[in-house]
């Protein structure tokens, strides 16, 4: 299968990580996975940079919101689209993520792996917003 793009998945829950990874790989994406925010930041700074970052919010070591803040503050990673995967549907969490530069926000309780992969594909192709 051709490489449809490179996705960094930062998610501490093993099930959600494996399920997202399997879904994205099936659609031809290369997936690199991190299990906490610290590892996620380290992998995002490696070359070549990922085309898209999928980011959980509540994680050990460095919380997702701090990962997002750091990515958007660094010139080398600021342009990478970040999609948030969260258990929280609170407006203030969505708003904060948007203010910090997240491209989209998905609540896990309503998440569709198929829709997520489609959105990743749109972002890799260079267009598409929100989640």
């Amino acid at each position: 299968m051709t490489n449809a793009g490179r996705v960094l998945l930062v998610e501490d829950d093993k099930f959600l990580r494996r399920a997202c990874e399997a879904s994205l790989r099936q659609r031809g994406f290369e997936v690199i996975a991190a299990t906490d925010g610290d590892e996620g930041l380290r992998l995002a700074r490696l070359l070549p940079p990922p085309d898209v970052v999928l980011l959980d919010l509540l994680m050990p070591r460095v919380p997702g919101i701090e990962v997002l803040r750091a990515l958007k503050a660094e010139p080398d990673t600021a342009g990478i689209p970040v999609l948030i995967l969260s258990n929280s549907s609170r407006d203030e969490d969505r708003r904060l993520a948007a203010e910090l530069g997240a491209t989209g926000y998905y609540v896990k309780a309503t998440l569709s792996l198929k829709d997520l992969a489609s959105q990743v594909a749109r972002l890799v192709e260079g267009y598409g917003t929100a989640g």
Partner: protein, 130 residues
């Protein structure tokens, strides 16, 4: 009483195909079972931070798959402020609910297997279909 898993949610999370649903169910039962074992350990050792983190993880995974009661119990555990006895009692409820979820999903995937084999699936214990 509503079934322990909302099948429309499960199908919506996965790609909706029999293969996709079966794959998600297998991963969910294996990985969430592991997380709950770790949660049991955290309760026994009184590690409040680990309890919060593990309950949050498993609650999110359960909600994504449509196991809404299980998810609600895990988020209740995440909120904390109970005694050791209270945590153990709640964990007992969580374990029972996971058993119900596992039994339900195993029966459901068996009906998918029967359909795939061209056999007529037995009536499934819910009126809700994905």
């Amino acid at each position: 009483m509503a079934p322990p898993v909302k099948l429309t949610r499960l199908a919506g999370f996965s790609d909706g195909t029999a293969h996709g649903i079966r794959s998600v169910v297998e991963m969910f039962l294996a990985d969430t079972g592991e997380t709950l074992e770790a949660l049991r350990g955290a309760i026994e050792s009184g590690d409040a931070r680990a309890i919060e983190m593990l309950a949050h993880r498993a609650g999110g995974a359960s909600g994504a798959c449509g196991a809404e009661r299980l998810s609600a119990l895990l988020f209740e555990m995440r909120e904390g402020s109970r005694s050791f006895v209270g945590d153990r009692a709640l964990f007992h409820h969580i374990s029972l609910e996971l058993e119900a979820v596992a039994g339900f999903l195993q029966n459901y995937t068996a009906t998918l297997d029967a359909s795939a084999a061209g056999l007529r699936p037995a009536a499934f214990g819910t009126t809700e279909r994905p």
